[in-house]
């Protein structure tokens, strides 16, 4: 999509919304061209630049409310619109924070070379792909029409797949290929859904779709197709086969990005569709089906995590499980206290991103130090890697949904909404999920307390531990600073009450 450099009189004073998408996309090719010469300063400058523009946009949205921008001045239905409301800004902030910290970790990891990446120039390949991914994610969170979402999702998928293949081991390449094929199938199904929507509604813009209710009879199958496509890309329970090999075998920072952010992007699109574009189209049974699949994800992911022999596959399956929580929100949003559940789901996504990324980075550090990550053989190493295991500890507190983490507050609000809407079984599922996650997290933590043995350990650079620890602490701190996040979410939140879903009969 060539972008013509012609700024039109834009309502806001500075088009931060455009910069957040364009800056990473521009920086990526430059980083590629630079290769290894002067990469570090440029990478730092560009990531800080993107982070600054996200911050500016966030401030703008907080100050002036929802931001809109028509690229190239063309309005709907043809032109591409960018739309930034509270939810998208929160997702952008999540991506920025996780991204910056993980890229710091990646810079260190890829610099080491060694078994993580075969070529010493891993760093030179990481940055362009990561900036593309970052641009794609920003585009997903900001785009306001269905087709633009499709394109951004593709951008995200391709860069993610390439990042997985950076590990250059045969297993990683095979996993990347499977991931690519699954993702392509998902997006094509999604495209088919878009086609049906356009054929019937005549428009692709989310706002027009929202205003266009009641939808024609064709809308339900279209929504079904869209949902299936996105479910495959979010690795919802029966369709999760590609995620564990991809996330477990990718280089550590890449798995952190994948588990923390990429899976959230496709879920975000699903979220927009169900609660903004097609409010009330899907009957309550459909959202109940999604919740049931979410429960399956929690149970199945946790069981597999409990049985995983390798640390990184444990964390990967934990992602499958924790995603299940996000799908529990669908039946809740219709009923009383729906807005609280909707906000809780956002907070959960953010807090989980931080915690999961921290957990992956810490697991990576342990693997780097011990040379392997077979959980059973980690005895005695725990005591000699205090910072990494402490990061694992803090991250697992968040994964278990225990105070003071953001997930605890999210669970508290979702459970309350479940009770108020009379669906107590959801509360039981959440508790069960908490117990399961305690199970597999303490499998790892118990290793930290075994008496130290003298197996040789490779030194882990301080920056890696620091990154893991920083993100783990942020994951815990979100619990204490939930109030500002909730105010941000209120800007442009769909009026959940009028969703028209008749709630649980």
């Amino acid at each position: 999509m060539a972008r013509r450099e012609r700024t039109r009189p834009v309502p806001a004073d500075a088009p931060w919304i455009v910069w957040t998408v364009v800056l990473p996309l521009l920086a990526a090719p430059v980083a590629f061209v630079l290769g290894r010469r002067g990469l570090a300063p440029f990478a730092a400058a560009s990531s800080l630049g993107v982070a600054a523009s996200v911050a500016a946009l966030a401030w703008q949205v907080a100050a002036q409310g929802v931001q809109r921008h028509r690229l190239g001045g063309w309005g709907a239905p043809l032109g591409i619109e960018l739309h930034a409301d509270g939810l998208s800004v929160l997702m952008l902030v999540m991506t920025a924070v996780t991204g910056v910290v993980v890229s710091l970790h990646a810079h260190g990891t890829f610099g080491l070379g060694g078994h993580e990446t075969r070529e010493p120039s891993g760093r030179a390949r990481f940055w362009p792909l990561w900036l593309f991914l970052w641009g794609g994610l920003n585009a997903v969170f900001l785009s306001a029409d269905l087709f633009n979402l499709f394109v951004s999702l593709e951008l995200v998928t391709l860069s993610a797949v390439a990042l997985v293949a950076l590990a250059a081991t045969r297993v990683a390449v095979a996993a990347a290929l499977q991931y690519l094929l699954a993702a392509m199938l998902g997006s094509l199904l999604y495209l088919l859904g878009v086609a049906l929507v356009y054929a019937t509604e005549g428009t692709l813009s989310l706002d027009e779709l929202a205003r266009g209710a009641p939808h024609a009879s064709v809308a339900p199958p279209a929504l079904a197709l869209l949902t299936i496509g996105l479910a495959l890309k979010t690795a919802l329970f029966p369709l999760h086969f590609w995620l564990p090999p991809a996330h477990a075998n990718a280089p550590t920072p890449v798995s952190a990005l994948l588990s923390g952010l990429v899976v959230k992007a496709s879920f975000y699109v699903l979220w927009r569709l169900w609660f903004q574009a097609f409010p009330g189209v899907a009957p309550f049974e459909a959202s109940m089906l999604l919740a049931v699949l979410g429960t399956g994800a929690i149970v199945w992911g946790s069981v597999q995590a409990l049985q995983a022999t390798r640390l990184k596959s444990l964390v990967a399956y934990s992602t499958v499980a924790q995603l299940g929580y996000l799908f529990l929100v669908f039946p809740l949003v219709g009923g009383p206290g729906g807005l609280a559940a909707w906000q809780a789901c956002a907070v959960f996504a953010v807090s989980h991103a931080f915690a999961k990324a921290a957990f992956f980075m810490a697991a990576g550090n342990i693997r780097l130090a011990a040379g392997h990550d077979r959980i059973a053989d980690l005895d005695g190493i725990g005591a000699r890697l205090p910072r990494s295991f402490f990061a694992v500890g803090l991250a697992s507190v968040a994964l278990m949904g225990l105070p003071p983490s953001g997930t605890f507050v999210a669970k508290w609000m979702m459970m309350r909404a479940a009770l108020e809407s009379g669906q107590a079984w959801l509360m039981v599922v959440m508790l069960l999920g908490g117990l399961f996650s305690a199970g597999y997290c303490f499998r790892v933590l118990a290793r930290a307390f075994t008496p130290p043995t003298d197996t040789p350990l490779q030194p882990v650079p301080g920056s890696l531990d620091a990154a893991a620890l920083a993100l783990a602490v942020i994951a815990l701190a979100t619990g204490l600073f939930v109030a500002p996040a909730l105010d941000l979410l209120a800007i442009g939140a769909p009026d959940v009450a009028g969703l028209g879903q008749d709630g649980p009969r």
Binding site: L419, L431, F449, A483
Partner: protein
């Protein structure tokens, strides 16, 4: 917003901040770690004393931080909170001194003292919690911070104990969370205000009973009520300062304190009685009292016997709380402090004996009185206290529980008291007899320095034993726990 606004937060931070700093400190820095710990402890006692003055003058300092949309993190110091917090602060100082000496040569002490401080700040947080959400908040934090202490030694036994401990406490935490959320969904934010919120909401009995059962089950795990108690003896593999603080003050008391809060401040004693849950809870507590004592009788390991004795003694608090009437309340609440003082003395002594002479079993205690007279003297005072023999503190509790039982015309409670005292005597007297009136089978290693063991190991049990004796002897002197308990009962029943 005068300076007292920050007091409750400061009390929690005085142990949290040193804890976090200690984590950052390298292992070798022993002196800085000790200084940090001790200043934190002393500062906390000073702040608690300040808060006591405020509370005495009816000005309850509060600290509020918005957390979720209509519920915020509320730290409020009322009379009941301060009773528990002052106990924790006082015993934390002693246990820190004890732990410094006890773990003198053992590895990763940094980790130990870090989690130790966080555990105490969680306990203080539980004490000061002003509403149900904050209580749950710190209750879970306590579980997390105590797990590393239980598995501190890293042996397979302690890891197994850790697993068992986790299974119970996390399940308990889940139950408590469920109850709390359900109550909040039904009634809105639940403040600890003598049960007014619930009284206003006048829900019908069925959900109230269900919520009560959930809450008490969640708390019962930590308060070691019978079916949920078996983690406690298993967790005895932890080092002595941990089992001392855990079983005398932090974990077990948090559960009992929680039950006191639920009965008095969430439901209010009249509503608890009205929905008919007070009776069964009293029966459950009595069963725990007797069962714990019987089990203690059958143990051959000293610390295991003390653990089961804790299981039975903590239920006095629950028993006292569930009997309607001022005296029973006073008895239940004051036992929070008395049991803490007596039990921590017993564990300190057990720790001393284990640390100095590597004696763990009861039948190896022959002639211990001769070899370690001061430790055994403290043990004897605490043991007699546990049996409720005057003038020790235990007697005051049993006296008030008995009077309360009579006021509430439930004389069977006196039967339970008598039965449990008999069992206490049955498992404590043989120990005393062996120690004082028997000659050692194999002579003990001779005493090295002037004192029978390291001074920092000897001083804490003597201080707590003296405290237990004075809490009983001068029970009605103004600064005693009994007077403070009377103050609480007055405010609860006015």
């Amino acid at each position: 917003m005068n300076w007292t606004y920050w007091l409750p937060l400061l009390v929690v931070l005085t142990s949290l901040v040193p804890g976090v700093i200690i984590f950052a400190l390298p292992e070798g820095r022993v002196v800085t770690r000790t200084v940090l710990n001790l200043t934190g402890a002393v500062l906390k006692i000073a702040l608690v004393w300040l808060m006591m003055r405020e509370v005495y003058a009816e000005r309850n300092p509060e600290f509020r931080m918005p957390l979720v949309q209509d519920v915020d993190l509320l730290l409020r110091a009322d009379a009941l909170a301060l009773l528990f917090v002052s106990l924790s602060a006082f015993l934390w100082l002693l246990t820190t001194i004890y732990a410094i000496a006890y773990l003198e040569r053992s590895p990763n002490r940094g980790r130990f003292f870090g989690f130790f401080s966080i555990c105490v700040s969680a306990t203080v947080g539980i004490g000061l919690a002003g509403n149900l959400l904050t209580f749950v908040f710190f209750y879970e934090l306590l579980t997390l911070s105590t797990y590393p202490l239980v598995v501190h030694r890293g042996t397979e036994a302690s890891l197994q104990a850790g697993r068992v401990y986790l299974r119970y406490t996390i399940a308990g935490g889940a139950l408590l969370l469920t109850g709390a959320v359900w109550l909040q969904a039904a009634v809105g934010p639940v403040l600890f205000d003598g049960g007014d919120t619930l009284a206003r909401a006048d829900l019908d009995a069925a959900p109230l009973v269900a919520i009560f059962v959930l809450l008490v089950a969640g708390l019962g795990v930590k308060a070691a009520l019978v079916p949920l108690h078996s983690w406690l003896p298993v967790a005895m593999v932890a080092p002595a300062p941990v089992s001392a603080l855990l079983h005398a003050v932090a974990v077990v008391k948090a559960g009992a304190f929680g039950i006191v809060r639920v009965v008095y401040d969430v439901y209010g004693i009249r509503l608890t009685d009205a929905i008919g849950v007070a009776g069964p809870l009293a029966v459950l507590a009595s069963i725990t009292i007797l069962y714990g004592s019987v089990q203690a009788l059958r143990q051959t390991d000293l610390k295991k016997r003390l653990a089961y004795s804790t299981v039975s003694q903590v239920s006095y608090i629950t028993l006292g709380v569930t009997i309607l009437g001022a005296s029973a309340t006073i008895g239940g609440i004051v036992h929070l402090v008395h049991q803490g003082l007596m039990k921590i003395t017993l564990f300190f002594c057990a720790g001393n004996i284990a640390e100095t002479l590597q004696v763990h079993r009861i039948d190896e205690l022959d002639g211990m009185g001769a070899r370690m007279p001061w430790t055994m003297a403290a043990f004897t005072i605490a043991a007699f206290g546990m049996m409720g023999v005057p003038p020790m503190a235990g007697f005051v509790t049993k006296w008030y529980l008995g009077l309360g039982a009579l006021e509430a015309s439930q004389p069977w409670v006196i039967g339970v008291l008598v039965g449990s005292t008999l069992l206490n005597a049955a498992y404590f007297l043989p120990i005393l007899h062996r120690a004082w009136f028997r000659r050692p089978v194999t002579p003990f290693p001779v005493r090295r320095g002037r004192l029978e063991t390291h001074w920092a190991l000897l001083m804490p049990p003597l201080v707590t034993a003296a405290a237990a004796l004075f809490a009983g002897l001068f029970a009605s002197a103004p600064p005693s726990p009994l007077e403070w308990a009377r103050l609480i009962a007055e405010r609860a029943y006015e």
